[in-house]
């Protein structure tokens, strides 16, 4: 039994063809994904707003600066996009709330994959697995260019 293209199937056939063209051309297009709020672009060559909360050994405080494995990851990421890091300290809840509103770009607070905030902010792929827990960084929800760039960086290091 063959499949024939009758009049009633021309519209889906055309739409599919159009979409296929878009999709095949897509991955070549480095524009995808884009940030709705342009967070990554704003940070390039500018300021990367990072919220931190004390969570040894992942994030520890040294004056106004942050140290620890997560801090290093963020520093190297910022260097890769030519940005200067602006650390702002606080408790995890208030940092994550600011992140949700888009006032911060990244939050590092020793978070793990099963944090209850996973539905309200974006979590990166785990950067380290320790003690059975997958440790992640958090980024502003919906800012997919930033999230993608950060995840690529995490994998490269």
């Amino acid at each position: 039994m063959g499949i024939s293209l009758t009049a009633s199937s021309r519209l889906p056939a055309r739409c599919t063809a159009a979409l296929l063209v878009l999709v095949l051309w897509g991955p070549a297009c480095s524009e995808i994904p884009k940030d709705p709020e342009g967070t990554l672009e704003a940070a390039r060559g500018g300021v990367l707003r990072v919220g931190v909360a004390e969570a040894p050994p992942w994030i520890t405080r040294a004056g106004p600066e942050a140290t620890g494995p997560e801090a290093e990851l963020i520093r190297s990421f910022a260097a890769s996009i030519g940005a200067r890091v602006e650390w702002s300290w606080g408790v995890p809840e208030e940092q994550l709330e600011k992140l949700e509103k888009g006032e911060l770009a990244i939050v590092a607070a020793g978070l793990t994959r099963n944090t209850p905030w996973s539905t309200r902010v974006a979590l990166t792929r785990p950067h380290t697995e320790a003690g059975g827990e997958k440790h992640v960084l958090a980024t502003a929800p919906g800012e997919n260019a930033l999230l993608t760039a950060l995840e690529r960086h995490l994998r490269r290091r």
Partner: protein
């Protein structure tokens, strides 16, 4: 002599076997689609909607396969009218589920849009390559659209040949999947281009399609359960009652007749009320009339002919013109 058990004509039995094989293939292939969409789903509303639609699309498929087992059983003491309605009930449940889920997803999408929920789609690593997860979602959607669309096109001619409404409903839902795929892919691409609301909008469109399927199937099965007069697979009234009446009127002892038929799975059953020209009617003549009625078409399985003194007014289709 009335046939105690309905047997499809030989060519149609072959078609039925083909249809069954196709439906089993559908179950298998759609399971892979469901897994593929689930695995790539992430936090996308669009993907969730597509996944639920794929899950629910199994209902008519399973209903068809079940109908070939349970509904085909001959009548017994407990179920003297046979088992055909088992299929309608399975279908009814499916249609209700579709309608409710569809409305739920629609409400969820609108709420998400109003709240400004933004889908976060990062990267995924497959075969050692790290790519944007949106591409795997699009790939899953494309697969999950092409498979049912092609299956639906293969099923449609079989459904028409068998006059099988369950199979046709299944084929219809499969073919409508191209819209889900197109909307879904557009939604994910939209998110990729920075339009965060594209996800919720696409999910809303998909849910419209789910609700439409649900309501259409719902009205179809409700009519069937209400013993509506027979229709073609496209839902138009068919002329079987009139043709059976005409066949009966050709018998010389029949002065007038009124016929009512209903659908019982693939076949039609019903009653014919005849008025004679005054001659005494023997049982053999009534039985012969039943055979004449059933011979009108392979689908007419059993018509119980009964002689009455006066035709009932409210039974059967209204006829214009005088009795023969």
């Amino acid at each position: 002599m009335q046939r105690a058990r309905f047997e499809l004509p030989e060519e149609r039995r072959a078609t039925l076997r083909k249809a069954r094989r196709l439906e089993w293939a559908t179950l298998g292939l759609m399971s892979t689609v469901i897994v593929a969409v689930y695995v790539t789903m992430g936090a996308s509303q669009t993907m969730k909607a597509a996944w639920i639609e794929d899950l629910l699309s199994l209902v008519p498929t399973i209903a068809f396969l079940v109908s070939n087992r349970i509904a085909a059983r001959p009548p017994n003491e407990q179920f003297p009218y046979g088992h055909f309605h088992a299929v309608s009930i399975a279908f009814l449940t499916g249609a209700v589920a579709l309608s409710i889920f569809g409305l739920f997803i629609l409400a969820d999408s609108v709420l998400g849009l109003v709240k400004g929920d933004r889908p976060s789609i990062g990267t995924v690593v497959i075969f050692g390559e790290q790519i944007w997860a949106g591409w795997t979602m699009i790939a899953a959607l494309a697969y999950g659209t092409a498979v049912p669309f092609l299956l639906g096109r293969l099923k449609m001619p079989l459904a028409r040949e068998l006059h099988d409404k369950t199979l046709k409903a299944d084929a219809d839902m499969n073919r409508a999947d191209w819209l889900t795929g197109a909307a879904g892919i557009a939604g994910i691409l939209g998110v990729g281009l920075g339009f965060w609301w594209a996800d919720a909008v696409a999910a809303g469109l998909i849910s419209f399609s789910i609700v439409k399927d649900g309501f259409e199937n719902l009205s179809g099965v409700v009519e069937a359960l209400m013993d509506r007069r027979p229709t073609t697979v496209d839902g138009e009234d068919s002329d079987f009652p009139e043709r059976v009446r005409a066949a009966l009127l050709r018998l010389d002892w029949v002065k007038d007749a009124r016929v009512r038929l209903r659908e019982d799975g693939h076949v039609l059953t019903g009653e014919a009320f005849v008025v004679t020209d005054g001659t005494v009617v023997e049982i053999a003549r009534l039985e012969e009339a039943g055979e004449v009625a059933a011979s009108v078409d392979w689908r007419v399985h059993e018509v119980v002919v009964t002689a009455v003194s006066r035709l009932p007014d409210d039974i059967g289709p209204k006829h214009e013109g005088r009795p023969a």
